[in-house]
């Protein structure tokens, strides 16, 4: 959504001389706010309504002066944007961590089944043997998992019930989301590269594993970038 059009629409209820003052404040806030267009539009709408009420409650006769006093009472838009950025960091980290923690075991199991499926001798192998075999072939994978799992759990504590219990700041949760997402991208690239280099035949399971990992790779990469950007803005 175009924030320029949105701010013009939001201030339409104000007296014409007060509009440019409030519009300028909202544009400054919009410029400093991180996050998606939808999130920014939602925050701008809420703040604009608060500002309009503040203008209505401020005594005075000259609308432009009244608007300036109201804005002063509201506080610096860049500080406000930084405070919202911290909230958005916590929420984004929570979603990233939660998605990785809940999808990880399923995708891991799919890979364990897929990487044995093209070799008849490996079909009857027990799960622990498959895990040992995979970690033996790809020694970086256990190191990555030992980084990704705790980081994803910390990121998930960026919001919700866990955020009330654990002393995890939004900055820490954002960093954990960045680390978990990046780790996931590296792990998926390693798994896909291993499949491409070693698979003699492509079973449906292996095709499914590569497809799902490719999708997760792009989603985890985007989530990691978002966590990093929001954390920097807060």
């Amino acid at each position: 959504m175009d924030t320029r059009n949105l701010t013009s629409r939001l201030v339409a209820d104000l007296d014409p001389p007060a509009r440019p003052v409030v519009t300028e404040y909202l544009r400054e806030l919009a410029a400093a706010l991180p996050g998606s267009c939808r999130t920014r539009a939602s925050i701008l709408t809420e703040i604009a309504h608060g500002l309009i009420e503040q203008v209505a409650d401020t005594p005075g006769t000259d609308p432009a002066t009244v608007a300036r006093i109201a804005i002063h009472t509201f506080g610096d838009p860049r500080n406000l944007a930084a405070q919202f950025a911290r909230e958005l960091t916590g929420r984004t980290a929570h979603r990233t961590g939660f998605a990785l923690v809940s999808s990880g075991p399923l995708i891991g199991t799919l890979w364990l089944l897929a990487l044995g499926s093209e070799r008849p001798t490996a079909i009857n192998m027990a799960l622990p043997q498959r895990i040992t075999g995979l970690f033996g072939a790809l020694p970086l994978l256990p190191v990555l998992l030992l980084t990704i799992i705790p980081a994803a759990l910390v990121a998930a504590a960026g919001a919700g019930r866990a955020s009330r219990i654990l002393p995890v700041t939004t900055g820490t949760a954002g960093l954990a989301g960045l680390v978990a997402g990046t780790g996931c991208v590296i792990a998926d690239v390693i798994l896909i590269w291993h499949a491409v280099m070693t698979a003699a035949t492509w079973s449906p399971l292996l095709i499914a594993a590569v497809t799902i990992s490719t999708a997760r790779l792009s989603l985890a990469g985007a989530a990691a970038r978002r966590c990093g950007r929001l954390r920097a803005a807060g």
């Binding site: 309504h49 009472t73 500080n79 919202f84 009330r164």
Partner: protein, 114 residues
């Protein structure tokens, strides 16, 4: 009153403003100002991120209300928010009672009704 004095108590104050029922952000600010006789006159804007923080923690629920007039974002306490408010009240009264006793204010420590 300076903003740093409120630090640590703002969440409890906001939760108590929402106790009677759902209200929008600016009404929270007005209520806070009125109930404190203007003593808690924070930069108005800071209340909005604080409400978002409470929402992130699952203590309040925010939703858009399409009633008459402007579309507003309305906040209400969740069950976890009510529990947190009770806990914050108890710890505040214990703290305030202890400080008053030590400083000679003569205010007895509050004990919750059973």
């Amino acid at each position: 009153m300076r903003a740093e004095v409120l630090k640590g108590h703002l969440d409890g104050l906001l939760l108590s403003m929402l106790e009677p029922g759902p209200i929008h952000g600016y009404a929270v600010i007005e209520l806070l100002r009125a109930r404190s006789n203007g003593a808690f006159d924070q930069p108005t804007g800071t209340v909005y991120p604080a409400l978002h923080r409470l929402e992130r923690a699952g203590l309040v629920r925010g939703s858009w209300s399409d009633g008459p007039g402007r579309r507003r974002r309305v906040y209400e306490l969740t069950a976890a928010g009510r529990t947190a408010l009770t806990d914050q009240r108890v710890s505040w009264w214990q703290f305030a009672g202890a400080v008053s006793t030590v400083m000679g204010g003569g205010v007895a420590a509050w004990t919750p009704a059973t």
